[in-house]
Symmetry: C2
Subunit: 219 residues, 2 copies
DNA sequence: TCATAAACCGAGCGCGCGATCTATTATTGG
DNA sequence: CCAATAATAGATCGCGCGCTCGGTTTATGA
């Protein structure tokens, strides 16, 4: 007899996913051939298809990993005492992977593939809903604490916060000269001015005005 | 003898491009087969390849058309007397196609394809540079007129204005419930608060404060 | 030790793709 | 009217793809 070792099995799957990751990011899902994945993973096609039923399953596993990891760390990021500070932490955390070379093109590829693949669409949709919930809660708390413009609808504003973060990924994926880490202060400045609204009316909460952001984009 | 009629020839090409447009938007470039394009255009494969050397050329022609049309109308939009009003016109004009059903997925598809196709990348890059130049000029003028925060770098801010507009397309392409026309006021509100900066210091220009935007996102 | 099943290999299959080729029809200038 | 050639058709081709399948090797429990 011989039993499967779940740890070994998972590690082998992960090895394949990692190999495919770079290919999917640089070439896209469709143009990446299973032969390329086999070569990159250093194993035969027979073996790769021993671990995954088809190419699509490899892509889904890749996104599932990202989703799990993100959800796990999101819970920690929002655990700040001050809503506004917690919001900035969440934004910084969600925007951080845009600085990695593979994440932006992969994210775009995932969005496009989700357009035709219902299972993928469901996966990303859950992911987005989770983020939206967290951010909406933080915005609601921040509004209650008088830290942001109370006239903004939290859910509505939250979706725009997410859109702003997403634009870090699209910019990084499309413009080679775009530097996500360097642009983060500007992102935060835009969010601050958008969410706080008229500063002389609403800057009464626990968070102090953050002049550092404004000075970061000065010429 | 028989000469080609340029008008007829161009019209026939356009007919093929129009047929392919919907397919590319809904299925993506790779998954759209030449057979589908032939069927949609109502002609044989032999005839389609009489007008285009290959599938890629159809996609490029599609984007070239969009670019020409946009560049033409952009020149008109920026011809306003007041820089801030002209900027809003340009933003509205650039964001408008996001409300069409095909434009958002097509734009995303184009971005991704440009990642691997140098010719496509060149096409979109020129396009972006043109937009950036126009917006940068308007921001510079607006800053000189005291209508926006003078501490912002015009070129830097312009690229974020474009990113904001682009997020209308990505949101429209990824979230079925996203309503571009309805979200336009919020986009303008974000831009206004970002660009004007501290309102009590800089709201001295020709454009009056636009409370209508703020009220549009109130719950 | 040895039976058993997991892990792995790589030749190759079937299919559908982008593109071609030859043939036929329509249209124009002279 | 008659070449000449554009416009159109559609069968077909070669290739490369995702994936399968039979066989071999390796590891594990009893």
């Amino acid at each position: 007899m011989r039993t499967i070792d779940p740890a070994k099995h998972a590690a082998r799957r992960q090895h394949i996913v990692n190999a495919a990751c770079e290919l999917f990011a640089t070439q896209g899902f469709e143009r990446t051939t299973t032969a390329q994945i086999c070569k990159a993973a250093g194993m035969s096609s027979g073996n790769v298809f021993h671990y995954f039923p088809n190419k699509r399953a490899i892509f889904i596993a890749l996104l599932q990993d990202d989703k799990d990891e993100k959800a796990e760390r999101l819970a920690a990021a929002k655990a700040g005492a001050d809503p506004w500070a917690a919001l900035l932490d969440v934004v910084r955390f969600l925007a951080a992977p845009a600085a990695e070379p593979l994440a932006p093109p992969l994210a775009m590829e995932a969005m496009l593939q989700a357009h035709r693949d219902p299972e993928l669409a469901e996966l990303l949709s859950q992911d987005n809903t989770d983020e939206l919930t967290v951010i909406t809660e933080l915005l609601t708390e921040a509004a209650a604490a008088g830290q942001i413009d109370p006239d903004l609808d939290p859910g509505h504003a939250a979706s725009w916060v997410m859109a702003l973060i997403a634009s870090m990924y699209t910019s990084a994926a499309t413009e080679p000269s775009f530097d996500p880490a360097g642009q983060l202060p500007t992102l935060l400045l835009i969010l601050e001015r958008f969410l706080r609204g008229e500063p002389h009316e609403h800057r009464t909460g626990g968070a102090p005005p953050r002049e550092t952001n404004a000075s970061a984009v000065a010429r």
